[in-house]
C-alpha cells in the first residue's frame, strides 16, 4: 500500500511527516475525503477548523489503534476502528463546540462526519494497525498536517478569488468570482490545485531523474467521503 512500508530501513519521523504532506497528501495525492474538502472550504477559517479537528482525530486514533492492535481480532477490526474514531471525534466535537462556538456553527456538521472520513480509517488500516507507536504517531501527524494544509490552500484560494477576502478580512471590493464559492467552484478549485501539485511533483521528479524510482503517478482511490 504505502511506499514507506516496503522492506528497508525504517522511515524517520521527518520522512513520515513529509510523506503525509507531499508524497501521499490525502487530498491532492490520495484523493481521499474530497467531500469535506469541497464542502467546508468556502473560507480559510472553516478549512482551518476542520483541518485541526481531523489532525487531532487522526493522531489520537492512530496512537490508540497502535496501542491496542494486539487485542483486536482481525475479523472485527473495522468496527473497532470506527468506534475508536467515534470516541475521539465526540471528544473533539464537544471541545470545538465549547471553545469556538461561532466557527463551529458553520462546520459542526462536518466535524461529526469525521467518523466516516476515508483518510482516517485508511491510515489506521494500512499503517497504525501494523506499525509500532512512534511511527504511527508521526504518520498520523503527517497525514493530519497534509489534510490541514490542503484545506487551508483550497480555502485560501476560494476565499481570495471567490469572496475577495482572507480569513474574513475584505481585501478586494465586492465578490470577484462568485463562481468559486459555489459547490461547482469547489471542484474546480481542487482540480486546479491538484494539477498544480502534480506539476510541481513532475518537475521535482524530473530534477532527480534516475536517482529514485518513480512514485505512483496518478491519485489513488476515490471511495469514501
Amino acid at each position: 500500500m504505502t511506499t514507506l512500508l516496503h522492506p528497508g530501513p525504517a522511515p524517520t519521523p521527518r520522512q513520515l511527516i513529509l510523506n503525509g504532506i507531499f508524497a501521499e497528501n490525502p487530498v491532492f495525492r490520495l484523493a481521499l475525503s474530497l467531500c469535506p474538502a469541497v464542502a467546508v472550504t468556502t473560507s480559510v477559517l472553516n478549512g482551518l477548523l476542520l483541518g485541526v479537528a481531523v489532525l487531532a482525530v487522526q493522531v489520537l486514533s492512530s496512537v490508540t489503534v497502535t496501542l491496542v492492535r494486539g487485542l483486536i481480532h482481525p475479523r472485527v477490526r473495522i468496527p473497532v476502528y470506527t468506534i475508536i474514531i467515534a470516541v475521539w471525534v465526540s471528544a473533539i466535537d464537544m471541545a470545538l463546540a465549547a471553545f469556538f462556538p461561532a466557527l463551529y456553527a458553520q462546520v459542526g456538521l462536518y466535524v461529526k462526519l469525521i467518523v466516516a472520513f476515508a483518510i482516517i480509517i485508511s491510515r489506521l488500516e494500512v499503517f497504525a494497525s501494523r506499525q509500532p507507536l512512534v511511527p504511527s504517531f508521526f504518520d498520523g501527524l503527517g497525514m493530519g498536517l497534509g489534510f490541514l494544509l490542503a484545506l487551508l490552500a483550497i480555502g485560501a484560494f476560494r476565499e481570495l478569488l471567490g469572496s475577495g477576502s482572507f480569513a474574513g478580512h475584505a481585501i478586494a471590493p465586492g465578490k470577484p468570482l462568485l463562481f468559486l464559492t459555489l459547490p461547482a467552484g469547489g471542484f474546480f478549485s481542487i482540480a486546479i490545485l491538484m494539477a498544480f501539485f502534480n506539476w510541481i511533483e513532475a518537475r521535482a521528479r524530473r530534477g532527480r531523474e534516475g536517482s529514485a524510482p518513480a512514485p505512483r503517478a496518478a491519485a489513488g482511490g476515490t471511495h469514501g467521503v
Partner: protein, 330 residues
C-alpha cells in the same frame, strides 16, 4: 555519356490512400462559421453601440489568449490559427448582454476555451459546447451583470440616451406576464421588430433574420444540416404551444442562435441522424421547460449543456446499421 532525364509527368503515381480529397478542413469550416456570424454580430454593434463591440472583442481576445496559453503550457501544437478559439469567443459574446463589463467577457472567453476545451485535450475532445461553458460560468460568477445588462436598442430618431437597461421580451414574459411582453415588443414595430432585431436581448440573438442568413450560408455550404435545428424548433414549439405565446418563444430568445450554431457543433452532437433528432427534441423541450417553469427566462444554454451530456449515450443507442451481419465472411 548518360544524362539524368528532365523531369516530366510520370504516367503512374503510386501513393497510399486516401485518394479523394476535398479542400475543406477544420480550419476552413471554422472560419466560414465565423464569417457567417459576422452579420449578426455587426447588427448587435449597430443596435447596441460600442459597448457591444467591446464585449465581442474582449470575449474573442480572452478565448484566443487562453487557447494560446493553454496549448503552450501543455506543450501541444498551437491550434490558435484554426479559428476554433475565435469561434468560441465570438459565439460566447453573441450570447452575452451588451452592457456586461468587457473584462468579464474576457474572463468568460478564457474560461470557455481553457475549461471547456483545452483541459479535455483540445478541439474534438470536449464533451460540452465551450461557448456555453463560458456563459454558464459567467452566469454563476456575475449573476447581476448577466441578468441586468440588457439595453434598449439605440434610438436612431430621437433624443440620445447613453444606455437604458430594460428587460428582454422573455424576461418581461417571465416577470410580468404576457401583456408586458406584448407591450415591450409592440413598441417599434411589434413582431416585425422582433424579427428584424430592434429589441433588447443578447448581442447576437436580437436579429433572427441575420442569424437565419448566416445559418443559410452554412446550410448552403453543407457545414450544418437542418436535422438538429428543426428538431430543436419542434421541441420548443411543442412545449410552448400551450403557453399562449409560442411565437414569442420561438422568436424572442436565443433559440435561433443556439439551434443553428451551438446545438449543431460537430464535437458535441450525436453522429447519427436518428440520434440527432432525439438530441434536438431534447434541447427544444428542455428549453421550453426551463422558460415556462424554471428559474430563468431563457433556457437554451442549459438545455444544450444538459443534452451535450447525453450525447455519449445517444451515440451508443443510435448506431449505424451493419450491412453485413456479424460473423459472416466478408
Amino acid at each position: 555519356m548518360s544524362e539524368i532525364p528532365a523531369a516530366r509527368p510520370r504516367p503512374f503515381v503510386v501513393t497510399p490512400g486516401p485518394h479523394l480529397r476535398v479542400s475543406e478542413t477544420t480550419s476552413s469550416i471554422m472560419w466560414w462559421v465565423n464569417a457567417s456570424l459576422a452579420p449578426a454580430a455587426l447588427w448587435g454593434v449597430v443596435v447596441f453601440g460600442p459597448r457591444a463591440f467591446a464585449v465581442i472583442i474582449a470575449s474573442m481576445a480572452g478565448a484566443v489568449a487562453a487557447e494560446w496559453v493553454g496549448t503552450a503550457a501543455m506543450r501541444r501544437r498551437s491550434t490558435v490559427a484554426d479559428g476554433s478559439a475565435a469561434c468560441t469567443g465570438l459565439l460566447l459574446a453573441l450570447t452575452l448582454p451588451p452592457l456586461l463589463p468587457a473584462w468579464a467577457a474576457f474572463l468568460g472567453g478564457a474560461f470557455a476555451t481553457l475549461f471547456g476545451k483545452v483541459i479535455f485535450g483540445g478541439l474534438g475532445y470536449n464533451l460540452f459546447n465551450p461557448a456555453l461553458i463560458g456563459r454558464a460560468f459567467l452566469m454563476a460568477s456575475f449573476p447581476v451583470a448577466m441578468t441586468s445588462g440588457w439595453s434598449n436598442p439605440r434610438p436612431w430618431f430621437g433624443p440620445h440616451l447613453d444606455a437604458v437597461t430594460t428587460p428582454t421580451p422573455l424576461a418581461a414574459l417571465k416577470e410580468y406576464g404576457l401583456e408586458a411582453a406584448a407591450r415591450l415588443i409592440s413598441g417599434p414595430g411589434g413582431v416585425t421588430g422582433l424579427a428584424l432585431g430592434f429589441r433588447p436581448g443578447s448581442i447576437g440573438e436580437v436579429s433572427v433574420l441575420l442569424v437565419a442568413l448566416g445559418a443559410g450560408v452554412m446550410l448552403a455550404r453543407g457545414i450544418i444540416h437542418l436535422t438538429i435545428p428543426l428538431s430543436v424548433f419542434a421541441g420548443t414549439a411543442l412545449i410552448t404551444s400551450f403557453s399562449g405565446a409560442p411565437l414569442l418563444h420561438l422568436l424572442g430568445g436565443g433559440l435561433w442562435l443556439g439551434a443553428f450554431y451551438m446545438a449543431t457543433d460537430y464535437v458535441t452532437s450525436p453522429a447519427m441522424r436518428s440520434g440527432q433528432v432525439v438530441f434536438g427534441l431534447l434541447i427544444g423541450v428542455l428549453t421550453g421547460v426551463i422558460r415556462l417553469w424554471g428559474g430563468y427566462p431563457e433556457g437554451i444554454c442549459y438545455a444544450i449543456l444538459i443534452a451535450n451530456a447525453v450525447v455519449p449515450a445517444l451515440n451508443l443507442w443510435f448506431r449505424p446499421r451493419r450491412v453485413v451481419a456479424m460473423g459472416s465472411p466478408s
